[in-house]
Symmetry: C2
Subunit: 345 residues, 2 copies
């Protein structure tokens, strides 16, 4: 490992170097995909790429990253191999069938054409319509949709509208800070008789006691700081029934490291005292958003270009209550959107 050890890249954990070199070796045609497939936090990946370039392990020409002869020696030393994609060709690794929701999906795309655009101050960025119906498909399989009381904590994804179109839930409530989205859902719900109850609500506030243990199921897509995680997921759990209540939420490896995942999992197990029943990689896919050029992610890129594809994905977690959880229901006055790993808001 002489070449590796004599290089400045040895200051980073070895597995991250191996992963990034694997991804570069696989020769994706775009830097967003190269970073995505490394599953390293975006900013850290950008930093390592810059160090690799300065150490002449890789070269960057015409928007392409290549491994140099010096780099090839390190690749050999570290037994780095190309990445292999073994995902199911039909469901793309999600494991689910969404064929039966096809007409709802077409309807959803039709009626949400004029949806509010994502804004940076609420860390918005919404999932594809397919992702919404994958979530419904997963939760329906678990018996968490039909006849159920459902809460959505933050809904720029407009999952409430997708759910409403299926007519499956017993009740759909949305807590949402952004007036534009609250009003949008209200209008659509009225026009199409979807029976959604959107409430303007800042999740830094305490959830009213009325909602304690009220819901069967929640969905959320929280900002990925510890405080935001507590505010969104902890309050979701506070609002879930004590036994067999289910929560679904997305966590990325773009804005969060595995160390942060470890912290999230400690909070889930110890503080929330709920059980994780599913973790499915790359389940949620996000449309690109307009304010990308103003984010730390864009600024850190060695090749400055706009993404021409979906590259921001998240892992879905499913949790279940087992009787002993109270969740978390405190008021927070801090900025819950920012920490040092955040790249995209």
């Amino acid at each position: 490992m002489e070449n590796y050890k004599n290089s400045k890249i040895s200051q980073y954990p070895l597995d991250k170097i191996i992963r990034l070199l694997s991804s570069i070796l696989t020769k994706y045609d775009n830097i967003y995909t190269t970073i995505e497939k490394s599953y390293i936090p975006f900013l850290e990946a950008c930093n390592i790429i810059k160090v690799m370039e300065s150490e002449k392990i890789i070269s960057v020409n015409n928007e392409k990253i290549e491994i140099t002869d010096k780099g090839k020696k390190i690749v050999e030393e570290l037994r780095v191999t190309e990445l292999i994609d073994n995902k199911c060709p039909l469901c793309k690794g999600k494991g689910l069938n969404i064929e039966k929701y096809k007409n709802f999906m077409i309807k959803f795309e039709e009626i949400t054409k004029n949806r509010p655009k994502p804004v940076q101050n609420f860390d918005q960025g919404y999932v594809t319509p397919i992702t919404n119906f994958l979530r419904i498909s997963l939760a329906e399989s678990y018996g968490n949709i039909k006849n159920k009381k459902i809460l959505i904590l933050g809904d720029d994804d407009l999952l409430s509208i997708a759910l409403g179109l299926t007519s499956l839930p017993y009740e759909i409530t949305v807590f949402e800070i952004d007036k534009r989205i609250v009003n949008y859902i209200k209008d659509i719900s009225k026009e199409y008789k979807l029976n959604i109850n959107p409430i303007e609500f800042d999740l830094r506030e305490k959830v009213p006691d009325y909602y304690e243990s009220y819901f069967d199921t929640f969905f959320s897509d929280p900002p990925e700081t510890i405080d935001a995680f507590k505010s969104f997921i902890g309050k979701g759990i506070f609002a879930l029934k004590k036994y067999g209540g289910a929560g679904y939420f997305g966590i990325t490896l773009v804005d969060a490291s595995l160390n942060k995942w470890n912290n999230f999992q400690k909070i889930i197990s110890n503080d929330f005292n709920v059980v994780i029943t599913d973790i499915i990689r790359d389940f949620n896919e996000y449309e690109n958003w307009d304010y990308h050029e103003n984010t730390p992610a864009y600024k850190a890129l060695i090749i400055k270009k706009q993404p021409d594809r979906i590259w921001y994905k998240s892992t879905i977690y499913r949790i279940e209550t087992i009787g002993s959880s109270t969740g978390y229901n405190e008021k927070l006055d801090t900025n819950i959107l920012q920490d040092e790993e955040n790249a995209t808001s």
Copy 2:
């Protein structure tokens, strides 16, 4: 909820009653499937079924379970609905493609025809050949197979042979208590030049220091008591490199409740200090085994019959080391195979 509350079933958590009634309502043609799809621990499901029958909520005739008129009232009260299966028709919800391993799979079935039969005193029971290659497919996607040093803790599944056939790993080591299996793997490995290193080893013992942080990847399928979990998974982690080492193991909801899962997850996050990256339901499928009639599961059944299909499945967990874990490497003198939730060993 008057009918529910006036019945003895109200002594059980409501979600378990709902799940079991959902499964019965779905009218599977076999009691093993009815219990499987409820995802309640086997013995608890059997107990609840007996109470439901004595309370005349269900009736059992000609090996069929039906909901009575009294039961239908409870079904309505509790908003119970039929179960829905939204799994991908191609990969059956596993999310993976194993087409490219087809020839290896045929070869595997051919050469393992005379494999040792599962014995009860080691809690044996092996997975289908497809399951072995699904595990390989998943781990290969994560870069945890090719050129990697791989440890298998307990291998009546003969995963080592499946791995050996692919020629992908750098090294394959097996720790196995059962002499029959050690010798079997040794013979096959010699005959087919698979280069597997099987070691006779009781996992209640300490793993030699030589193996600390030695491996890139481990696989295991532990008995589901807390002590067995520590002995198998903790020692697997002890033997993994400190950064980016990956462990794969199966946990059921047959022999373990979600409460026990919560305990496993606390051990994973707090004691082992590793991160869970994937939890995929029903990933592993197990062939039926000869000693089933001698297990608590069989004894608890209200309809005594042998299974005519695969019904024992487990969820796969993938964990990753993040630098700060030492795993667990203590000697245990206790019986690590038995606890009150165990149904099948």
